[in-house]
Amino acid sequence: MGYVISFEEANKIFADLQDEYEIWAPKRFVGMGRYSDTDLIKYDKVSTVEEIEYMDKSDFPAKEVLTPISESMFYFTEDEFIESKATNKKLLIFMRPCDIHAQHHQERIYLQNGGYADMYYKRMNEKVKIVMMECTVGWDTCYCISMGANKTEDYSMAVRFEDGQLRMDVKDEVFAPYFEEKEEISFQPEYVEKNQLTLDIPEIPNKEVLTKLKNHPMWQEYNKRCISCGACTIACSTCTCFTTTDIIYNENSNVGERKRTSASCQIKGFSDMAGGMSFRNTAGDRMRYKVLHKFHDYKERFKDYHMCVGCGRCIDRCPEFISIVAAVNKMSKAVDEIVAEENK
């Protein structure tokens, strides 16, 4: 059912919803950006429509609501394990279509991979209801169409932000009571139909070609360009890797916690083992590992789609202006070269 509501009406609905829900949306933090005089846009709890940043793309993805960059798993008192607690409320999250698609990748790893379900993810994921933020234009770093992530029907409500009012598609019955006596309209959200960037993802025909691609000189470019800061993977909507660390509280060494923190395969040390063994010791090797994971290995394992939704945040965040689109297109050329050489 479609509705049109004023910001004032929306804020009343937000107030009612907050008895049961935490409302999360992209929010602008003025002056908090990484460079002087720039803002930061990231997910945070909101209680009014005006707090939602709906004009610009958020710097960081919606995944942070469910899997924060740092999360406590257990609290220790001597050697007793006490599980951390999650919020008691349900979660209503405003997301663009790319971020919604990314949740499927998150679910696949946290809930399905290997047949093990991660409790910390599951207990949050079960609480989620999605409000899809209509996204019809995108930005110059977006390539959601190439990834098939520009459209989705996976939402409870969809919203178009207009000047002082919202047009909404309310699909999920649980939200119908909040819209009683509101003005009904016919409304269907629209989607991005054209991106400035397109991606040419190579088909890698066999393991021999794959091995040659791994050893292709194209990756050496990143030894010079990539500074291995990990900004791309932290901003990535689909990356899930983490490291667990135990800490001891300064005030009392009998008490501490086990926490997990987002990890990046782009940072040296990701694969280091006790005893000194390490793998992928150059930025080029690490770039190869990331790009092949997203555009080959993941699909090879799960068979259906690649591990990228084309949100372009990795391109936005890279301080060295490395574009994953350019990297994949280069990889495509390299595969063509290798295949042509093999067919000689």
Binding site: I109, M119, K122, D246, I248, L292
Partner: protein, 263 residues
């Protein structure tokens, strides 16, 4: 809700000092285990690490640990009667059913002997399980030799080549394990054999190449990998190589797959 990351408290029954840096911890456990699997061992406030099971029986498991990191150093301070926290067992272990009635060639480097100790004991205790066992076990030097008693015992029933990388030792060979692969008469085994390789990555790489050079087909070679892990259940991503997760699809891999994996 079931929390797969939450370990169980288990009592240490015995600590056996194998060498200066390698101790075996015998722990009372009631978890199910298969040959070649591993568990996550942890100490609250210190951390967690994946450790392979070197031997097991009814209600107990052995973990042979090298003190090379924060967690393992702390485990070394533990004594019989102390507690270790365990979760698992995880991963795909040795295909022991496939090993039945075959000639087995087992090649190990250093502590790589630990993940195969339980199958060596299986073959030792049940002589009809396999047709024969050839064990090539290499160590860096005399100080790094582990399972001394077992090595002596296995000598009685198995064909053995024990070697130190560079040092001399009475009754032992000198040289890398790769140098002894060609001493195995694979032809004599016909089609009826399997090869197991475990050790540091360079050792496995070169021993694999050497075995292939000696005419061993890829599908008869089995390796066990060791990688950094935080979760051991396919979530943290640290152990992923190409499309496989060492924690889920390994640690034991057939060489047909392993030879293509590039970290």
């Amino acid at each position: 809700m079931n929390n797969i990351m939450k370990p169980t408290a288990c009592k240490i029954l015995e600590v056996i000092k194998e060498s200066i840096h390698e101790y075996t911890f015998k722990v009372a456990v009631d978890m199910k285990i298969e040959h070649g699997q591993f568990l996550q061992l942890s100490i609250p406030k210190i951390g967690e690490a994946p450790i392979s099971v070197s031997n097991f029986g009814d209600g107990w498991m052995d973990f042979t640990i090298r003190s090379v990191g924060k967690v393992t150093d702390e485990i070394f301070r533990k004594e019989a009667g102390d507690t270790l926290f365990l979760r698992g067992a995880y991963g795909k272990g040795w295909p022991v059913e496939q090993f039945k009635d075959k000639h087995m060639v087992i090649i190990t480097g250093g502590t790589g002997l630990a993940p195969v100790k339980s199958i060596l004991n299986l073959f030792y205790d049940q002589p009809d399980y396999v047709k024969s066992v050839t064990l090539i076990a290499g160590f860096k030097n005399e100080d790094s030799i582990i399972f001394k008693g077992d090595l002596d015992r296995w000598k009685e029933k198995f064909t053995t080549y024990y070697t130190l990388d560079k040092d001399q030792k009475e009754g032992w060979n000198t040289g890398f394990v790769t140098e002894f692969v060609s001493k195995v008469d694979f032809e004599k085994f016909g089609d009826d054999y399997e090869v197991v390789l475990v050790g540091p990555p360079p050792m496995m790489k070169f021993t694999g190449l050497e075995a292939v050079k000696c005419g061993v087909p890829d599908e008869k070679i089995w390796v066990s990998f060791e990688r950094k892990m935080s979760c051991a259940v396919g979530k943290c991503g640290h152990c992923r190589i190409d499309e496989v997760y060492v924690c889920l699809d390994g640690p034991v891999f057939n060489y047909t797959q392993a030879k293509y994996l590039v970290d």
